[in-house]
Symmetry: C3
């Protein structure tokens, strides 16, 4: 439980900072920056909870709100030096989507949904904050255009059900799926792999 | 019931393919294409169900998900030949919005809402998937700018209550409203009619 | 209660007209104009109610719908003369966000949420309709870029809790918070004050 909380907070920090950086490129004011940091961090989980009709987590857990505010302040003040932190941020973000994917899948399982829908929920939890960020910043969502990002989440979701199929303890299922998301994302970024371009495949 | 299911699936197919075509024009990757196909098909109904606070249909009915995946694969593979299917696609789309309109109106009636709200729900069910598609593709929604599309849904909704007023059997109400949406849309496209341009009217 | 209803209707009128004007600049058709007027007026409150999982107000209260339709018709017909009404519209809008802020804060309190979340809900109620309007019109939301707008709502929300802290009667808390929002917004616009530009502060 403690490890999950720490990963969750690391993910929120990474997502908040990515929101701050995107919104500052668009010359938003202080309020806009904070809102973009907020929706990037909690947007995916909020959509997931609204669709499942369960209570939205950040309404009652203030840890999220304080973390987002602190991370945003940090990002605004130290924005010129954030390049030094680039690798840490990328790592936080990768841990974050790994965690969000598994948490999303488990929320779907709790609601007794079909595995495919659960995997979709995991992917949504991990990716949709970034989609809302890009919509608010008036850009086509970056995850629709490049990078192995959502794909890592989808494969992590499949891994979850593949491992669970063998009746292994839930902690192993959790760690297995989490590791698959994180590994695929790391390998994809380090070796600059992206999805095959279907435009080239068929043209 | 069987006829409704078939119409529904035809509508989902048409909406998925329109999502695929729009997203491919934006050079999205495979994941982006699938997501756009998905939100175009189920976005309107999802917003409707969230506002009504009833369970979201595609969470538990896998037919939607399988149809969307199959239709998207088909559209990507045969995208160069889709012009041959253009008329079929337009027909599917027209049947789809006719059906979605009536289903949306009836969901509003079940929730005991005012007829105007019910008509708004019918229109939203039919049109909002396309609105989300256009937002995600960073365009001003096409239905806000041209074509008799939402207008056909609105008039179909009025027809529903007009016929229901005479205590006719529900199947006749259903078919009457459905036919009005489909006929208006067909006539508008065949004769290239669009809403009067209020900018010209008043300038 | 009567005063609140009047303020609410004035707010809906102002928001509808601002939606009409934005959508006409984008050359939308009659349907698009009406939809933009609608989401600008009720979008913030709808998001708030969906997140709180309480019934959405305009589904059952037709006053909103009739007011939006009437205000939109008015705005389309008299759009060339709306400059004469500019000051009234600005005043309506200011009264509207003041009211929406306080109502949003109180809805959060009723759901027993943390004060910071309540203030966020007040700000969201007041500002999010304009955000959705700008997304649908394919622009970066104006409140993220300039003007003391959301900031007035946030400070009004803090005022609410500051006054409530002294156990004053709820009507005084209401009027105090409302006045702070309205005053800050009036002062900011009259003296052309905006948030300090953090890009200049740190560059």
């Amino acid at each position: 439980m403690d490890v999950i909380l720490i990963l969750d907070i690391l993910g929120v920090i990474a997502f908040s900072i990515s929101g701050v950086l995107t919104s500052m490129r668009k010359h938003m004011d202080a309020f806009g920056i904070l809102i973009i940091a907020f929706v990037t961090s909690v947007g995916g989980g909020t959509l997931r909870d609204v669709l499942l009709d369960v209570p939205v987590a950040w309404l009652t857990n203030m840890t999220y709100v304080y973390t987002i505010i602190a991370a945003s302040l940090f990002a605004v003040v130290f924005r010129k030096r954030l390049t030094y932190f680039r690798k840490s941020l990328f790592l936080f973000d990768t841990l974050g989507i790994g965690l969000y994917t598994v948490v999303g899948v488990e929320k779907g399982i709790n609601a007794e949904l079909n595995p495919i829908i659960c995997i979709a929920f995991g992917t949504m939890s991990a990716c949709f904050g970034g989609v809302i960020r890009d919509i608010l910043c008036n850009e086509i969502p970056v995850i629709f255009r490049k990078e192995i990002y959502a794909t890592a989440c989808i494969l992590g979701g499949f891994t979850y059900f593949a491992i669970a199929h063998f009746n292994l303890p839930s902690s192993i299922v959790f760690i297995g799926a989490f590791s698959v998301v994180v590994s695929i994302r790391l390998v994809a970024v380090i070796f600059k792999i992206s999805l095959p371009n279907i435009y080239k495949l068929y043209d």
